[in-house]
């Protein structure tokens, strides 16, 4: 330990007085310049401190009638008190605690500093206070620096969680796009091929017309051309080719719409700004989260939507989409084979409510307390950051809303999110229709 951190740094090397010194000797010493800043003097016998005489106690004696005459020649040990002594190696904090506990109030003495029980000097309480103050100041600086870097790394973690879920989402959506892209491309190639045939047919048909319109009719050529045209148009007549082509066009348009919808939804998510927008329809946010999460949901989950009519909300849709997607993918993961997710929305008393409920395996009571804690995860290492729900919680909180959970093992889990229409004048609690106090999870019904 550095000397600056121990009591040694406060040592004043004051010559001690002996137990045999008289009261008068000591009174004289107190008057000298050397000792004028001291409240007390140490009494040391063969190197060992035996006590302390304070200026205050001495004054008390001298102020009494005949005090000087009665006590002046007595040994100073008559008036001494017990010294508060600390070892010089003691750290300042520990010494300070010891001294404040043991020293007399009001403060009328200094403390004695020893090394292996031997006297080395005295320390002044005021110096101790100053040293402590300096240390507190330093500590505060360190703390605020630590706090700052903690805040930064937390922001980074939140960002990386967002990037991770974004990456997963993009991969899922890219796969999702491959299917419509597959048939749209193929349809275009098929129809392009057919278009070539159509064009050739049309050219031959025009030649046929030209032959028909010619002033001198060449019957052989006409017959040959007629046969050619009829042969070329045969594939178009059989198996309802033209109708099928029409279907291909319809399918292609549908596919292109699917792709653009996915891309649009992706755009809603990827906005990294957190700007609040007016007039957000939460039902639409949920639809867009469902669309983006399709990849995870499609084959194992039946989604039952029980949407109510909702007033427009001022919020950050990209953030709320993130919350909804997080809850939906969690719900899907909780379902082991096949199951149902119910999404219900309604509005009342200045609040918009959303419940997302699954028929999954449920969360154990000892786990449910921790699900919103950062870094808590039940997924294997490397699969979840443990930040999804804690970020969701934060986002809802930033919207002055509430997120609650109820779960029953083997039956499922239900999350309730309540968002105020007017975050500036939030009522304390959402209306009673949005209670989630029982841990019974029952199948929701449409109102």
């Amino acid at each position: 330990m550095k000397t600056a951190d121990t009591i040694a740094s406060l040592t004043l090397k004051i010559p001690s007085i002996k137990p045999t010194n008289t009261v008068n000797d000591v009174a004289q010493l107190f008057l000298t310049d050397d000792f004028k800043h001291l409240l007390s003097l140490p009494i040391v016998d063969k190197g060992t401190p035996v006590g302390l005489i304070s200026r205050y106690d001495l004054n008390k004696v001298y102020l009494k009638m005949y005090g000087r005459e009665l006590y002046g020649r007595q040994p100073i040990t008559q008036l001494m008190t017990k010294a508060v002594s600390v070892e010089r190696e003691q750290p300042i904090e520990a010494a300070s605690q010891f001294i404040t506990r043991n020293i007399r109030f009001p403060i009328m003495e200094d403390f004695v500093i020893t090394e292996n029980g031997q006297y080395v000097g005295v320390g002044i309480v005021l110096d101790l206070l100053k040293a402590m103050e300096r240390r507190v100041l330093l500590r505060t600086k360190e703390l605020s620096k630590a706090y700052q870097s903690l805040k930064e790394s937390q922001a980074q973690l939140v960002q990386s969680e967002k990037m991770a879920s974004l990456g997963q989402m993009v991969a899922g959506v890219a796969h999702e796009i491959n299917t419509p892209l597959g048939y749209v491309r193929n349809n275009v190639e098929v129809t392009q091929n057919l278009f070539g045939q159509t064009k050739a047919l049309l050219e031959n048909y025009e030649q046929l017309v030209a032959l028909l319109m010619a002033e001198t009719m060449d019957e052989d050529a006409l017959g040959e051309q007629l046969g050619l045209v009829s042969e070329m148009s045969e594939p178009f007549r059989e198996e309802g080719l033209l109708d099928s082509m029409q279907d291909l066009f319809k399918d292609s348009l549908y596919g292109v719409d699917q792709i653009s919808e996915l891309v649009m939804n992706l755009k809603d998510f990827s906005r990294l700004d957190q700007a609040r927008t007016d007039n957000v329809d939460i039902n639409k946010c949920l639809d867009s989260a469902l669309n983006i999460g399709k990849n995870v949901l499609k084959y194992k989950v039946t989604v039952k939507k029980l949407y109510g009519e909702l007033p427009p909300l001022k919020c950050s849709p990209s953030q709320l989409n993130q919350v909804f997607l997080n809850l939906l993918t969690n719900a899907a993961q909780a379902i082991e084979d096949k199951g149902t997710i119910w999404i219900k929305t309604w509005a009342d008393g200045g609040w918009v409510h959303v419940t997302i409920q699954d028929s999954g395996k449920g969360i154990a009571p000892e786990v449910i307390k921790k699900i919103f804690d950062p870094f808590f995860t039940t997924k294997p290492v490397g699969e979840g950051t443990g930040l999804g729900l804690s970020i969701s919680y934060k986002i809802v909180e930033q919207h002055s809303g509430q997120i609650k959970v109820a779960s029953e093992i083997g039956k499922g889990t239900k999350f309730l999110i309540s968002l105020p229409l007017n975050p500036e004048s939030v009522q304390k609690n959402p209306a009673s229709t949005a209670r989630l106090d029982s841990n019974e999870v029952t199948e929701p019904e449409a109102d």
Binding site: H175, N178, P180, G182, Y183, E189, L248
Partner: protein, 324 residues
């Protein structure tokens, strides 16, 4: 009409089915279904030359459909057409589905046409060959399974891996160590292959920190008799798909090695090798796709290895004699 080969498409998206039907209508008798179980029923009832299945479907996955198809209609050529290239699908399609090609969505119509037509040709030849010489040896094998060391009798195995564990496990399984050659580098392996008639190659994809899939693919092109079991710990889906299409890998074995899986795969490879010797037409199933970037592939094979590969090609029994 009846001379057109039959193709069956399985996909849960009807638009994909309609689209593919239009593409193949002219040259194939096209059957489609959105349900894997129905596809299996169709395979039982009539001759289907080519089966093309999607992977992600609600009731049965593509791998499950292909695996079932292998049992009920072994002569049907199996292909996977998917927009999801996840590792499980790739490994499953090889190990369980024993597919001919892995095609990604979106596809190019000319490419899929060429692949499917090639597959159909193979299926037709296989069909006529198996009619002339019906062989029930596969069923016979199942009744009394000999030990793997008996099974390995007379078959040479090459292990190409820097780590000793692969060789050690195989030696422990087969016991007859004179038939197992262990190479730690590519040159040694191909030198050995150019001198010996090896039946099975068990190889890592990365040797001395280099991707050796190019020589593995070329090996299969030059000598389709050799069955390759590929061990890999790296999960680059694109290169695994290429190993299927250009290298006709017989099995993928994820690392760390699972002894049971290795044993099962080795046994299957040995049986298949013997089956191919008895019925050389089976070789056709393993025709690899012609590499598109022949030059760039060649660049990744050292001249020395390329020299060995040429010797390997020269050693190979002429396939035109073997295949009727």
């Amino acid at each position: 009409m009846s001379d057109k080969p039959t193709i069956l498409f399985v996909d849960d998206e009807e638009r994909i089915l309609r689209s593919l039907k239009m593409l193949f209508m002219g040259t194939f008798k096209v059957k489609t279904t959105t349900d894997g179980r129905e596809a299996i029923e169709m395979l039982k009832q009539e001759t289907v030359h080519v089966l093309v299945s999607d992977q992600r479907m609600p009731n049965m996955t593509g791998v499950e459909v292909l695996r079932e198809a292998r049992n009920v209609s072994p002569n049907t050529m199996r292909l996977l057409l998917t927009g999801y290239s996840d590792l499980a699908a790739i490994v499953g399609s090889v190990n369980e589905g024993e597919i001919f090609r892995y095609i990604n969505k979106p596809w190019k119509s000319e490419e899929i046409k060429a692949i499917v037509e090639q597959a159909a040709q193979i299926a037709i030849q296989l069909g006529s060959a198996s009619k002339s010489a019906p062989s029930k040896q596969v069923a016979a094998k199942i009744q009394a399974e000999p030990s793997i060391s008996d099974e390995a009798e007379g078959l040479k195995i090459l292990v190409l891996d820097e780590e000793p564990s692969t060789y050690e496990i195989i030696e422990e399984l087969i016991k007859e160590s004179k038939n197992i050659h262990w190479s730690k580098n590519v040159e040694d392996a191909f030198a050995h292959l150019s001198q010996e008639t090896v039946a099975i190659v068990v190889s890592e994809v990365r040797i001395q920190d280099e991707d050796i899939s190019a020589p593995l693919k070329t090996l299969k092109r030059y000598n389709p008799n050799i069955l390759t079991l590929v061990l890999t710990s790296f999960q680059d889906t694109k290169s695994l798909i290429e190993l299927i299409n250009y290298g006709q890998v017989y099995r993928f074995l994820p690392k760390p090695i699972h002894k049971g899986l290795l044993e099962k795969s080795l046994r299957a490879a040995m049986q298949h090798y013997r089956a191919m010797q008895a019925r050389p037409e089976l070789l056709m199933r393993h025709v690899v796709e012609k590499p598109k970037e022949a030059e760039s592939t060649a660049h990744r094979i050292s001249d020395k290895v390329l020299g060995y590969l040429k010797k390997i090609r020269a050693r190979r029994p002429d396939s035109s004699e073997a295949v009727h």
